[in-house]
Amino acid sequence: MSDWPLWEVFVRAKRGLSHTHVGSLHAPDAALALHNARDLYTRRQEGVSIWVVPAAAITASSPQERDPLFEPAADKVYRHPTFYDVPEDVEYL
């Protein structure tokens, strides 16, 4: 029995936003994947731009390796704006 590969779909709903992952679908190739994505994910005008990516092409970080990859960021808390205590009346901060 033939199998159509899996594709992940990303849609940018509006200019100014970035593409977000909306789900996946099966298609034999990229052209049909785009057509299917349009029918499945933008029926209610939910998309300006659609990307389809073969699921097999996606490299994911492994949850088991999460500590080395992400922990260093956890103690660099000064990267987050809420770390700073600034007067409320300073504009544009």
Binding site: W4, H26, P28, A31, L32, H35, N36, D39
Partner: protein, 255 residues
């Protein structure tokens, strides 16, 4: 006074409605669930197009008929659609050949309708036609993608596609036959003669078939004709019976 283009536009509306009716039959029967969605999408576009055209017709032809009056309360001999669109769906190959032909025809004839109606100041009709061009461009592309894959896929799919071309070939000439309604519309400056679209539409279709490694459209052994005069094939009566039966069983009812 009813505009001279009305009968030609009625034929367009009937083509859209009857084709939408046939496409509706594919839902839950398509080769892949994604294709159930795609064919439903085409069907919805065509149904919406038919509704808009009937609504416009009822307003301008002096009858005041509603979209449902046109769809449910006319008899077989009053419908003006092509034989190709009333044909039962058959094989998926038959359907993709039909979609390629009809969408290619629609892109061109609705483009002509949009520009001529716009020039004549019939803005509502121009708007409907403009939307139709966009939709049919997408439908044509969808059909093309499939014809390529089925023609140049497996030996079996190529054989089935060539067989579908044999079955559909007899219906092609009618697409490009000028009816008196077409001539009346064009004489009044609206639309285009179907015969003038033959070489560009069949040229496009031919190039897709060639790219798909399929045989060219064969010479048919017989020719479908008469749809524009309300002379349909025998399937039409059965199809209309199914479509109209419930509405006709309850005259005057609201749904």
């Amino acid at each position: 006074m009813s505009p001279p283009c009305v009968p030609a536009v009625l034929a367009l509306a009937d083509d859209a409605l009857i084709y939408a009716q046939r496409l509706g039959e594919w839902i839950s029967r398509a080769p892949q669930i994604e294709e159930d969605m795609a064919l439903a999408n085409v069907g919805l576009d065509l149904l919406g197009r038919a509704r808009s055209l009937y609504t416009w017709l009822g307003a301008v032809d002096g009858s005041g008929r509603s979209e449902d009056d046109f769809a449910y309360w006319r008899d077989e001999r009053e419908f003006r659609h092509l034989w190709l669109v009333e044909r039962p769906g058959g094989d998926f190959a038959d359907e993709m050949v039909r979609l390629l032909l009809m969408a290619s025809l629609d892109v061109e004839r609705y483009a002509a309708l949009a520009s001529t109606a716009s020039v004549a100041g019939i803005d509502e009709l121009a708007g409907i036609a403009g939307k139709a061009v966009n939709e049919s461009t997408y439908h044509r592309d969808h059909a093309r993608l499939w014809v390529l894959r089925l023609g140049d896929g497996t030996e079996e799919s190529r054989t089935r596609m060539n067989a579908a071309l044999e079955r559909v070939a007899p219906y092609v000439d009618e697409l490009f036959t000028d009816s008196w309604a077409d001539r009346a519309a064009v004489a009044a400056g609206i639309g285009v003669l179907p015969s003038s679209l033959r070489s560009s539409v069949l040229g496009y279709v031919g190039s897709v078939l060639a790219e798909a490694t399929l045989d060219p459209l064969p010479e048919p052994a017989w020719h479908a004709r008469g749809g524009r005069e309300g002379l349909h094939s025998e399937v039409c009566g059965f199809m209309l019976a199914e479509m109209q039966h419930l509405a006709r069983s309850h005259p005057g009812a609201t749904w």
